[in-house]
Symmetry: C2
Subunit: 120 residues, 2 copies
DNA sequence: TCTACGTTTCAATAATAATTGAGATACTGC
DNA sequence: GCAGTATCTCAATTATTATTGAAACGTAGA
């Protein structure tokens, strides 16, 4: 369960244009992730600057990396994202479902497009 | 529906210790909100500095203010928080329910204490 | 082993954010 | 109006973050 210090770090990490793009690209890419060079290209940032931002995201626990040959592959850390959502909802809901109830609808629209829910 | 520029602003706003505390205090306080002085006391920040941080949160749309006598009352903007949660889930879920599915559980635990979920 | 490639590290700089204290503004009650 | 309270604005300072380019590192293939 995420504490508020971790949450601050995660929010700060996502509160930067390039870094949010990086996370979005990695989430979209899935568990296979993307090599640093590809990621830099997609996001439109220099390799040096990408390196700075991915380090920041790693520090916040939102992404992870592994080496594959001469490439370094980054991928999203899904549980950290889940935890962050959970933190937001937990804190927002403190006796006030008016915040989370609309989010339920977004969730339903998002995760159950066909009416066929995550049967995981 | 929140776009990524707004989301960056919201995340950046929450990515600071005092500001996250402010939002938490205001969410907990409910729609009645809290006067600036009270808020400063709860969060442990000088009135000048509080003023800086609440302005930042307002700019991101996460809180709002109204005057009541000589006090200025701040309160959480619930829809903005909902939108942010929705944005996170929408972006995270892109074909990958493994992120959101655990969040569903948090949501259910959080918002549906009676087992009566949003059947919208 | 030499060379090329992908990526990182480092140091310098530029840009932005946070904190402080003094003074200004807005309201209240006398 | 005057005195007092609550809060804000402003300017100065400090601290942190982002960006850049050059150089170093690790890996792969000839």
């Amino acid at each position: 369960m995420m504490d508020s210090t971790q949450a601050v770090a995660a929010f700060a990490a996502l509160g930067q244009e390039y870094r949010l793009s990086i996370v979005r690209a990695l989430v979209t890419a899935g568990p296979d992730g993307l090599a640093a060079g590809v990621l830099a290209g997609e996001v439109g940032v220099s390799s040096t600057n990408l390196s700075f931002h991915v380090k920041e995201l790693s520090r916040a626990g939102l992404i992870q990396s592994r080496r594959d040959g001469r490439s370094i592959i980054y991928s999203a850390t899904y549980p950290a994202l889940s935890d962050l959502i959970a933190f937001l909802m937990r804190d927002c809901c403190q006796g006030r479902p008016e915040v989370c109830t609309p989010a339920v609808e977004a969730l339903v629209a998002c995760c159950t497009p066909t009416g066929d829910v995550a049967h995981a």
